[in-house]
């Protein structure tokens, strides 16, 4: 480890200058873009900070696709205020520091609003940066309750909070599946752990016994021992609150181990990869999810358009992102302005009919109402299964 040769300040200075120059030039190009967009006539920029590199690039790419599809559809029907919507994606790598930079970059590029986000860890500094710039941020996937509880007038989300999905899952498990012994698993991510906690407390309130509650390490291929242990606790239902790559493997490996309890997943699991991974083992698996268009109405156009554009079916958050962009476009229309402040104000009082159902935002910016339905896998595809009918207090079939 000897260091021979002399240091070379020349290279160092060169590198520093080159970088500073790069930073300045990109910064100035950013401000140029900002002045460009504020003039009427140019496109309205919507920023999408999502992970496009690293471990979570897959989810981030799905989300960006959802945004792009939404913009395409809006533009195809004439845009808003006579202007086109343009999506600007920035990689936040699921890191706080990169997220902060991605958000600042978007601000400097002159976005009218932001719609996106995946990891809470990046969403916090992103929201902070957008809040300071007065730009509304509609989050599609970040479920940490704290995000909307900071009193920021710019914070919104199209995804429901964990504390709403959990009780629905618990109600289905106890009152429809009549399970007394339930296992709950998560992957130690913010979202999954939150949903698991909410479900566990709802289950206990509903009188079920939680016989297993633990986390797995995502990214590992082998969950057989995790499943064997669940099997040992003899549950009737296993509710997994993590994401589809692991749930697909869990379904497949549970079948291989000859385990027979009912497997159910949270709303991060309705991804076509799940069925590809699990194969026939996916049949009969159930998931809680928002009432997505694809499961409810005849409007299958979203799914087929997505499929046509990107070669795969939409990911679990593509739909929430599609609605996040949609609701922003609606707010621009309502406000008759693409000024961030006016958009934020319009979002407060909006009522939107999206592909994840009708919703508005409460005073915190949280989505209301959040409806959940149960879907299941039948012959290798997701189909709607049950929903809760509040008039009869019963779970009823969806066709």
């Amino acid at each position: 480890m000897k260091i021979v040769g002399s240091r070379a300040p020349a290279t160092a200075i060169f590198a520093a200058v080159a970088l500073t120059a790069a930073a300045c030039s990109s910064a100035s190009s950013g401000s140029a873009a900002s002045s460009g967009s504020s003039a009427s006539g140019g496109s309205i920029l919507i920023g999408v900070p999502v992970p496009l590199s690293g471990e979570y690039a897959s989810a981030g790419t799905d989300i960006l696709h959802g945004a792009q599809l939404a913009a395409k559809n809006i533009n195809a029907s004439g845009g808003v205020l006579g202007r086109k919507i343009q999506i600007v994606g920035q990689d936040d790598a699921c890191l706080a520091s990169t997220g902060s930079e991605a958000a600042q970059k978007l601000v400097s590029q002159g976005i009218a609003a932001a719609a996106g986000g995946y990891c809470s860890t990046a969403a916090f500094p992103e929201l902070e940066a957008f809040h300071r710039a007065g730009i509304p941020y509609v989050m599609d996937a970040s479920t940490n309750p704290q995000l909307t509880e900071q009193g920021f007038a710019q914070a919104f989300r199209t995804i429901g909070r964990d504390d709403e999905q959990g009780p629905v899952a618990a109600s289905f498990i106890t009152s429809f599946l009549h399970a007394k012994r339930v296992a709950v698993g998560n992957d130690n991510s913010t979202y999954a752990k939150g949903l698991a906690n909410a479900t566990v407390s709802a289950l206990q309130k509903d009188g079920a016994q939680v016989v297993f509650n633990n986390a797995l390490t995502p990214g590992q291929s082998d969950y057989t021992s995790f499943l064997t242990k669940i099997g040992q606790s003899k549950p009737q239902v296993f509710y997994y609150t993590g994401y589809y790559p692991e749930f697909g493997l869990l379904l497949k490996e549970a079948k291989q181990l000859g385990l027979t309890f009912t497997m159910m997943g949270g709303d991060a699991n309705n991804d076509p990869t799940l069925i590809k991974t699990a194969g026939s083992a996916a049949n009969g698996a159930m998931m809680t999810t928002a009432p997505l268009a694809q499961f409810l109405s005849s409007a299958k156009s979203y799914v087929s358009a997505y499929q046509a554009a990107y070669g795969t079916g939409p990911g679990p958050y593509s739909s929430y992102e599609y609605d996040a962009v949609g609701v922003v476009a609606q707010a621009i229309k309502d406000a008759r302005s693409a000024k961030p402040g006016s958009i934020a104000q319009a979002l407060r009082s909006i009522s939107y009919n999206g592909i994840t159902g009708d919703f508005h935002f409460d005073t915190n910016g949280d989505r209301k109402p959040v409806n959940y339905i149960i879907i299941t896998v039948k012959n290798g595809s997701f189909v709607a299964y049950k929903k809760f009918d509040y008039s009869t207090n019963q779970w009823v079939s969806l066709s």
Binding site: S58, T217, Q220, S221, S225, L249, Q256
Partner: protein, 299 residues
């Protein structure tokens, strides 16, 4: 009892995969003292090559056995070449520099392979078509599939083959000589460059085989998969005594078992911490791993 047996079966299965990858780390470390961070990513590339082959060939309705064989051979051949290319381009010019420079170069290769794969194959997960039969059998309350058994046997055969290669052939002897003393090996007429290249090829071929097999067995692959597999395999290589081929095999199985028992009897969320704690404890008492390193210390 049946649960215990099941944990053993599960542990041995994942352990066999870990061991196969650990061999690559250990071999490469043995000859050039490099922790090859790109090794897990070479495995990932092997997985994707196997995936493309299976998808293409299965669509033409070729016999399953042939598809599996071709995918395996194709994946191994590709990663073998890739391993040699990496060695030539990114490591060989740095063999006489600081060992940290080559480590950073390895990190660069790892990141480049991940990003390249993301650009080519996409960020999402790909799932191998299920070409393999899923039938299995039970004994004493534990379940195993024939494929699982087959994969385990192939892993053990590959490891055994490697062991024989390293200990019974001229090329293997050259590798061992190089591991012990590079300069002496050179003086004895061993072509050092070629032997290093051969080691990279062999290690990468094993990674490729492992990648294709894991892909077929677990079905799900993506560009980031090499990272976690690599981490565990690297741990196994060190636990067994880095540079020590039988040590890596045993330690790989052992890590599989520890992970499995920890999932089963302690808590799955602590499993990785437990594996590392065991590793640290072992190293404190046996500073060169369970089986000691085979690399002779320079005197």
């Amino acid at each position: 009892m049946s649960a215990f047996l099941q944990y053993v079966v599960n542990g041995l299965t994942s352990g066999a995969f870990i061991a196969l990858v650990a061999l690559g780390y250990t071999m490469i470390y043995g000859v050039i003292r490099l922790i090859n961070f790109a090794h897990g990513d070479v495995l990932m590339v092997g997985s994707f090559i196997g995936y493309e082959l299976v998808v293409t060939l299965a669509a033409r309705h070729w016999p399953v056995a042939l598809v599996v064989l071709l995918a395996l051979v194709g994946g191994m051949a590709f990663t073998g070449g890739l391993g040699m290319l990496i060695e030539r381009v990114a490591y060989q010019p740095l063999l006489n520099s600081s060992r940290l420079a080559i480590l950073i170069s390895a990190l660069g290769v790892s990141l480049a392979l991940e990003q390249g794969a993301q650009l080519i194959f996409g960020a999402g997960f790909s799932a191998f078509p299920s070409v393999l039969p899923s039938a299995g059998f039970s004994f004493a309350g534990a379940h195993a599939s024939y494929v699982q058994l087959g994969m385990f046997v192939i892993s053990v055969l590959l490891m055994g083959g490697l062991y024989l290669f390293v200990h019974k052939t001229m090329a293997g002897t050259a590798m061992r000589a190089l591991a012990m003393d590079k300069d002496a090996a050179r003086l004895m007429g061993i072509n050092v460059q070629r032997t290093i290249l051969l080691t990279f090829m062999l290690g990468s071929v094993l990674a490729g085989a492992s990648g294709v097999m894991q892909g077929m067995y677990y079905t799900e692959i993506n560009f980031f998969m090499g990272f976690l597999i690599g981490l565990r395999a690297f741990t196994a290589a060190v636990l067994g005594g880095i540079g020590n081929i039988p040590g890596a095999m045993v330690a790989g199985l052992l890590i599989g078992l520890i992970g499995s028992f920890s999932d089963g009897y302690i808590s799955s969320e602590w499993s990785d911490a437990i594996i590392f704690a065991v590793l640290i404890a072992v190293l404190v008492f046996k500073p060169t791993g369970l089986f000691g390193e085979r690399v002779a210390e320079r005197v």
